[in-house]
Symmetry: D2
Subunit: 347 residues, 4 copies
């Protein structure tokens, strides 16, 4: 290895935006528009997204980041005495600095497998609450939160998602899907959950922009318009309303023109496969197969220290004293040359 | 068995107050006093409690219930970005309807053994946060909550408590002890933790009144006066300030006169032992030995249904499809005749 | 004047409870009862209260204090984006240490006259919100809070209350009445608002116990049962649920037996009139006539200093540099001898 | 007038960003950078801002909008029992949908003159709290919030700001300045408050980007580094942390290169003067002189309806039944041709 090379796969938000987005921002820059999301770009983006989701009668709100979207959506839907069920590894449970609790709601962590919870686990938690004689002293599960892909890069299958959806409806819980990296799910050959499936099976979900080609932005999709009365005010109250909403509208308008969003993750997926293959071929331990843009590998700590001179990855966990599991991520902006270089390095 | 007998051991708050308390309430009823805890009874009770705790320079605040005390104390001490570590079975984690989260703080549940967490578990959680490169995206553990006795009736030994206290000081976390049933710890022959130990090893704790002889009331002890600036206003803001604070002061003044509180749980402890022995002698499965006033037994469901015609107990958990673990509790008000009757019934 | 006499009229919560309450507490002390308000005394008290209010199909929840009742009720009913309209002088606006805001809701203060707001003022505030093009960036008024009697001891007439009620219904706002001192309204000859009127015109109100003969306790009356789903859990989450709910049930059961509550304030009212007359006869400046148990007088500061050696009153406000307005309060526990002594002193 | 012309002066956020910002975004688009504000652009922008403010040892955090900045800063600094003093017309009091209260803090509205509060008013409010015998039942003022320029476009002079600062220090209150439109203050000939004055007299303030040339973004300046421990986590918890912090860093790096920010508002100011002059020359009623980019005029309603066919302005208030006061705003993006057209129209 050599000091001259540094290939950064530490995350999927290291670059700016897809070039088409920058172009459109420049092109529309001096067009005067109303603020707060009432501009024509937001309107156009909303229509495109709803069409892609098969719910033209729905509505879309644009927010600036994933933690914000999670906090606003969950707070808007839960009653004060309700909490949200999610995987122990869920972003809201671990990496949002307590944003959900700061709005007053308990995150009710469930055991998971590679980031996924099962319908059975959800059912058990819901049933256990409803059957408990002391349930009125307890937090009622009012929502199930899952991420697609999960924090482990894994995917819920259509069957799995349908089963969870059924349990949610049985127990009167909202189903909310965090799609921070949704483009990488949609671009994965292993994926069988479409935007239309999400709109049909979930009560609310967001389509991630920040990690999928935008400078920032997440599109919250509500298939049934009006499900959250006064959502605009709720967004404002959370400090989540942009004066220049156009910035979000323009970006999603570009991402949803010509199916860009459906394809923007494709290279990232194929590069991630090549990276995973290179790791496996080098005899390294890949703890589970990832179908999306995040790849995990468990390294002896000495090897890890050696590798990180040339490769950027991020810490995931320490399975034991001498090993570390790390994550490598590709994105829409990953260059093929970097992947080739990576393959050469690993040999 | 017979329909005529019903022995209620379902909880330890089924009666009113110790007779001496009622007497004192009657005796002082028309004495005019300042409100909001500035009355002479609160002052006197505070002095007695602080003396018993060996911290005459400390301060005491009287609140009306356990969940309220927990919510107010935890909210008063934690910064917005901090959470509280506690046993998965801890009262704040399970049975306070999300009171801690409703004030914005994550309850960070830890594995436990019969309701107790170990210093090692606490250390691991604290270290894990502080060593994590992403810790600024996570909830910082700012406090450890334990209950003495625990929700399982078990006791922390002085060694165990000292070890937890040491970890808390190492990581700058407050140690808070919920003493809802503290009288039953103090009266247990197996207990080696005194009030003075609590005042020395914890930052704050409360001495339970509601379950230990009072009509209502919990005495929050702060060994270092002034540790919580404007605590009075914080209590008021939580709706936890009584206009007639005298009601709490009078009760604790009685409970702390002549060591009443130290002895008030003694009969309950000996009766609980007799109940546990009766269960064991009847060949029933007692999952673990309880040193205090709560006794647990696992019953076949058919036996449970039969027993509950004559005996009041409360649901604890279902270890499997056909069995139920239930809890029986004694209290300062339990009559010996009821225990004798119970022993006869079990034979 | 003499140093030997001290007549304390500083507030209406200086004594314990009505003797009948203490008797009943003693009498029922060892009767075993279920906790959390499911006891037979709470049930009986609820029935009596609902009957007195003419809404047998309603429901009653017992809480421990006024600030707590206000905080819990308001938080239970308002959506996150709503605030509560009230007089600038309203208890929730001034003297609850921000309890309403701490639950996330704006207190929207309105101009008042001697503690009362008018239907016109309420209408203007509601209309102003609904007509504002930027209303989605503003806090929506979702409730009107008034107190009967007000903090100034004044009373809403039936006409005034009806008019406010009508405005509330027009704009979809809840009407909530804080009855901390309701017994003193009901006992006032100037009052024409009955419990049945309250139940008919308000959505929710509480009947004060703490200042009206109880040791503590406020009875929240909901004329339409089920209006607040899961109110039990909401109460618990606010730390406002008493384990020994019986303590509240017993007291209100006594207060609502034999119309005790309707009459308990009568002496206080007649004593307050005598105090006010004595003040006026002494040539002192009474800023407005109070029909209930609170009397106000504006004193030159030198006179105030002289008087406070023998008389306890509480600071109200400083109308100018050299004068202070103070409040004197009578209560169910005020002794006629004290009033006579006061009359002698003033001469 | 003619239907063909429409001159929109309804607000100052109708366009995108200053062209230099778009250029820099394009230029840096594929440079890989760390997330969450740890990128080199944020670092560079922070250095430039701190230098301009004369506090090289301070720190800067970049947020996405004004309401968000206000909510995060105020929540980070106030204790739970504290509120924030501000003008009744202050943005946090009127137009943030209760964002401050939703974090638990009372907005304590003060009378103002054209959007400004005086040191005397602030002192009175603070003194009134501290002298009140019941202050522990009240919300403590912990901060003063002002905006520069105010919502009315008016400016605090250096003398006025110094006086407020002195009162704040006397009573231990933070002084926080909302600089959403700060560029228009800095570019006003009437302004005598520099960035260095702000850094010297305030505890914290933000430099507005959204309304001053950026796509979005506000730079929170903390002159004393470390004043808010764990501010990063607090920002994250409020959902206010951007993954691609570079987007904010790049923009402020451009705005603070070559004194761009100091000059970016100059045209807007001179255009606003011309608009105001045109209104006055047309014999219309300008309620007060605005030194910055917002101009106010009171119109007969019939004239208003006529004008709004060709001119975009925003509703401000209705001084009486037949008149409306409206606001016209210029910005860095206002074209001189539009102003000329406006002048022609008014003639």
């Amino acid at each position: 290895m050599t000091k001259d090379i540094y290939l950064d796969f530490s995350c999927d938000y290291m670059e700016g935006a897809h070039p088409l987005i920058l172009e459109k921002l420049a092109e529309t820059n001096l067009v005067q528009q109303t603020g707060y999301g009432y501009d024509s770009y937001c309107k156009s983006a909303e229509e495109k997204i709803l069409k892609a989701c098969g719910v033209p009668e729905g509505e879309v709100f644009f927010l600036t980041g994933g933690t914000q979207a999670n906090a606003v959506v969950i707070d808007a839907l839960l009653a004060s005495y309700q909490g949200v069920l999610c995987a122990e590894s869920g972003h809201i449970s671990v990496h949002e600095a307590g944003a959900i609790e700061s709005n007053g709601h308990k995150v009710m962590a469930l055991p998971h497998k590679n980031g996924k919870i099962s319908a059975a686990t959800v059912e058990e938690a819901a049933a256990s609450y409803h059957e408990d004689g002391n349930r009125d002293h307890m937090v009622m599960p009012g929502m199930v939160y899952i991420s697609q892909p999960t924090e482990y890069g894994t995917l819920y299958s259509l069957n799995e998602l349908s089963a969870i959806s059924q349990v949610c409806r049985k127990y009167g819980m909202y189903l909310y899907v965090d799609g921070a990296r949704l483009a990488y799910a949609l671009a994965s050959p292993e994926n069988d959950v479409t935007l239309k499936d999400l709109a049909r099976l979930c009560d609310i979900f967001y389509i991630g922009g920040t990690k999928c080609g935008a400078l920032l932005g997440e599109a919250v999709v509500i298939p049934k318009k009006g499900m959250i009365p006064h959502f605009f005010s709720i967004i404002k109250q959370h400090g989540a309303l942009l004066a220049k909403g156009r910035l979000l509208g323009i970006q999603f308008d570009v991402l949803y023109a010509d199916d860009l969003y459906l394809h923007i993750g494709e290279d990232a997926i194929s590069y991630a496969r090549r990276i995973q293959d290179a790791l496996i071929n080098a005899g390294l331990s890949v703890p589970f197969n990832s179908p999306t843009n995040q790849v995990f590998v468990t390294l002896e700590d000495s090897l890890k220290e050696k590798l990180e001179k040339n490769i950027g990855f991020s810490f995931w966990e320490k399975p034991d004293e001498n090993h570390t599991t790390v994550r490598l991520a590709t994105s829409w902006a990953t260059r093929e040359e970097a992947v080739e270089e990576f393959e050469r390095l690993l040999k």
